[in-house]
């Protein structure tokens, strides 16, 4: 896989867009893979008892799923040296059905001395932001 050419990048460039979808099976799969078995991610009664509208996706699943776009663009997942986000709105996952999460990745900062770029991720469900200040620093 080829690596992006830093000299050819400009702040504001959109490096990619993607829609990722989650159904209940995806939440169970992530629970098992991550070890996070909090029942608000698979049990409606518990989720409602906690004041939620129903089962919600793990914030860490959303965070983990939307960065794939950046790893692939970078050509090397190990190049993502820093990655942070705020969880601003829960992603409800219907049963049956799927939640659709839209991702747009834009170059936010280019640091020639450090050899890094900051990729800013806009992450929304039905137009509403679900992650805030989602930023990945990529070494190129």
């Amino acid at each position: 896989m080829s690596r992006p050419d830093m000299a050819a990048l400009a702040v504001g460039d959109v490096i990619g867009t993607r829609t990722v979808t989650f159904d209940r099976a995806d939440l169970v799969r992530y629970a098992g893979a991550s070890g996070d078995f909090n029942p608000i991610h698979w049990n409606d009664k518990v989720a409602e008892g906690a004041g939620l509208p129903g089962v919600i996706a793990h914030g860490m699943l959303t965070m983990g799923a939307v960065v794939g776009l950046v790893s692939e663009w970078a050509g090397d997942p190990g190049a993502v040296v820093d990655y942070q986000t705020r969880f601003t709105k829960p992603v409800e996952v219907p049963n049956p059905g799927t939640a659709s999460v839209d991702v747009t990745a834009t170059i936010g900062v280019i640091d020639g001395d450090a050899g890094t770029v900051r990729v800013d991720l806009a992450v929304t469900v039905d137009g509403a932001k679900v992650l805030g200040r989602a930023q990945a620093i990529v070494r190129l």
Binding site: V20, S34, G51, G64, V67, D76, P77, G78, Q84
Partner: protein, 161 residues
């Protein structure tokens, strides 16, 4: 209300977590990470890695395991059914690869309560242990090579929030 006495507490290096190839593949599949370096040894070695590379958020497995020492302590007064994840940050000092033996020093950096909401920030310093050491020494300042720092903030809603 989270017990403010825990602020500043440091938990010594925990029992090592062995990073396995199949766990990396399983986690990568669960987050839809299709880059071949997570799945295919030849692809990972082609990028210069010794083994399969973990996805950027894989360290959460190791971090949440360490955080449980604090969060599940009844004296910490954290009602897990009222916890919402507020923010998360991963800083990788080097990528995690299969074969790593990771140990974590957990820091409870900040506990702030306002009204009925408590915000708790933890920091996991994750190290790769040298092959010669099987059990981390509780006294060691740095139990190995720094691999990742994971900062996480939880919001805990009180009964009336």
């Amino acid at each position: 209300m989270a017990n403010a006495d825990f602020e500043g507490r440091v938990y010594p290096a925990d029992a090592p977590y062995s990073v396995g190839r199949e766990k990396i593949r399983e986690f990568a599949t669960a987050v839809g990470a299709t880059h071949p370096a997570h799945h295919d040894l030849v692809a990972a070695r082609g990028l210069g890695y010794l083994d399969l590379v973990a996805p950027p958020t894989f360290a959460v497995i190791v971090a949440q395991r360490a955080e449980a020492q604090y969060i599940s302590d009844p004296a910490a007064d954290i009602d897990f059914s009222r916890v919402v994840h507020a923010d998360e940050r991963f800083t990788h000092h080097r990528p995690i690869v299969a074969g790593d033996e990771l140990t974590t020093v957990l820091h409870v950096d900040r506990i702030v309560s306002r009204g009925a909401i408590s915000m708790v920030t933890t920091r996991c310093e994750i190290y790769a242990m040298p092959e010669s050491i099987e059990v981390p020494s509780p006294e060691a300042e740095s139990p190995g090579e720094p691999v990742a720092t994971v900062i996480s903030t939880l919001a805990i809603r009180g009964e009336d929030a």
